[in-house]
């Protein structure tokens, strides 16, 4: 009576080496002394005590992993969350009434802010069927970035609806692969985006551009805070 449905849409290519965790050369578990703090994953300061998070959501291939990699001080890590809930038809397994275990992979990177604070940036697939996981994983986020690819705008609709409904501050970033002729106005219209939601263009491969996306988000959140305190 137990059916496991594995849905592992992320990480996006090119993630390089497949499975998450230590470098592939880490060898078997004989490396009991294997530290987590190799060059690609320096440890946090001992004084680190406050962690913040930003979620980057988008459809497959929108560039979430690329954006995370561009801003992260560590080589991005990947892991999975698994949750079990009553089957509700999402898995097209007619007649199976058992509980479904859904597994979703996600990537994340890290930016140390100062001696006490660290920011985690998560990349996560934005499709409807994953949101029950994100609701938990990303609750308490500073805000979210919806990364859109104009070739597949419809991938973003659900994420935008959901973030609006949750009241999570977010911005939309159009990851421009250089192959689209859409103006931001056209993208905004196609997404039916609220005028209060910032829309920016970026090249997720470029650190300076990716960091501007995060800056735009945090500025937006700050403006909301200021409005709220007036």
């Amino acid at each position: 009576m137990h059916s496991t449905t594995s849905e592992s849409p992320a990480p996006e290519p090119p993630s390089g080496s497949g499975p998450p965790g230590p470098p592939s050369g880490a060898g078997p578990s004989s490396g009991a002394r294997q530290p987590a703090s190799d060059d690609a994953h320096p440890p946090l300061p001992a004084t680190a005590e406050q962690a913040l998070k930003i979620a980057v959501v988008g459809g497959f291939g929108a560039g979430k992993t690329t954006l995370v990699r561009s801003v992260s001080e560590i080589r991005p890590l990947s892991t999975e969350e698994t949750m079990t809930r009553a089957g509700d038809g999402i898995d097209d397994t007619d007649g199976v009434e058992a509980k479904h275990s859904t597994t979703v992979a996600f990537d994340f990177g890290r930016i140390t802010l100062d001696a006490t604070s660290v920011l985690y940036v998560f990349g996560a697939p934005g499709q409807e069927r994953f949101w029950f996981l994100w609701d938990r994983l990303f609750s308490g986020s500073l805000g979210a970035v919806v990364l859109v690819d104009t070739r597949r705008l419809e991938d973003s609709w659900y994420a935008i609806d959901r973030l609006e409904a949750q009241g999570t501050p977010f911005i939309v970033a159009h990851n421009d692969f250089g192959d689209t002729d859409h103006t931001l106005e056209q993208v905004r219209a196609a997404l039916d985006l609220d005028p209060g939601v910032p829309l920016v263009r970026c090249d997720a491969r470029v650190r300076a551009s990716a960091k501007q996306v995060l800056i735009a988000l945090v500025r937006h959140v700050r403006s909301l805070v200021c409005e709220g305190s007036r």
């Binding site: 892991t79 140390t112 308490g140 700050r222």
Partner: protein
């Protein structure tokens, strides 16, 4: 532990948690920072020992999960074991934003902006 948990059947995860699928400390957020308060001791479950090694410096729950190659849900159960026995301590995100108060404080936002500009 070279295999990804993606190739693990549920059986191994069942064994690692002694059959538990719940009982994790609900306050353990994805980015709660975990710090070891003592080192591994002989006879300890290997996953517990590995966590204590990993958390010599503070490490977020999701990072522990990635390094152990175990799903976050399983890691939360293992971390709860160690919290309950005082072998680790947890530094939770604060203040925990809530639906009623979802936004971060201006001080925190300034700090984030400064750090991002310096990237």
């Amino acid at each position: 532990m070279t295999r990804s948990h993606r190739q693990e059947g549920p059986d191994r995860l069942y064994v690692i948690t002694s059959g538990r699928s719940g009982g994790a400390d609900d306050s353990l957020d994805a980015v709660t920072l975990v710090v070891a308060e003592s080192g591994p001791v002989p006879g300890m479950q290997s996953e517990h020992a590995r966590i204590l090694e990993l958390c010599h410096s503070p490490m977020a729950v999701v990072e522990v999960s990635a390094h152990l190659r175990l799903p976050v849900m399983i890691v939360r159960i293992l971390l709860t074991d160690l919290l309950d026995t005082g072998r680790i301590t947890a530094r939770h995100p604060r203040p925990a934003p809530s639906p009623a108060r979802p936004l971060a404080s201006p001080d925190v936002l300034e700090k984030v902006l400064v750090a991002l500009h310096d990237l």
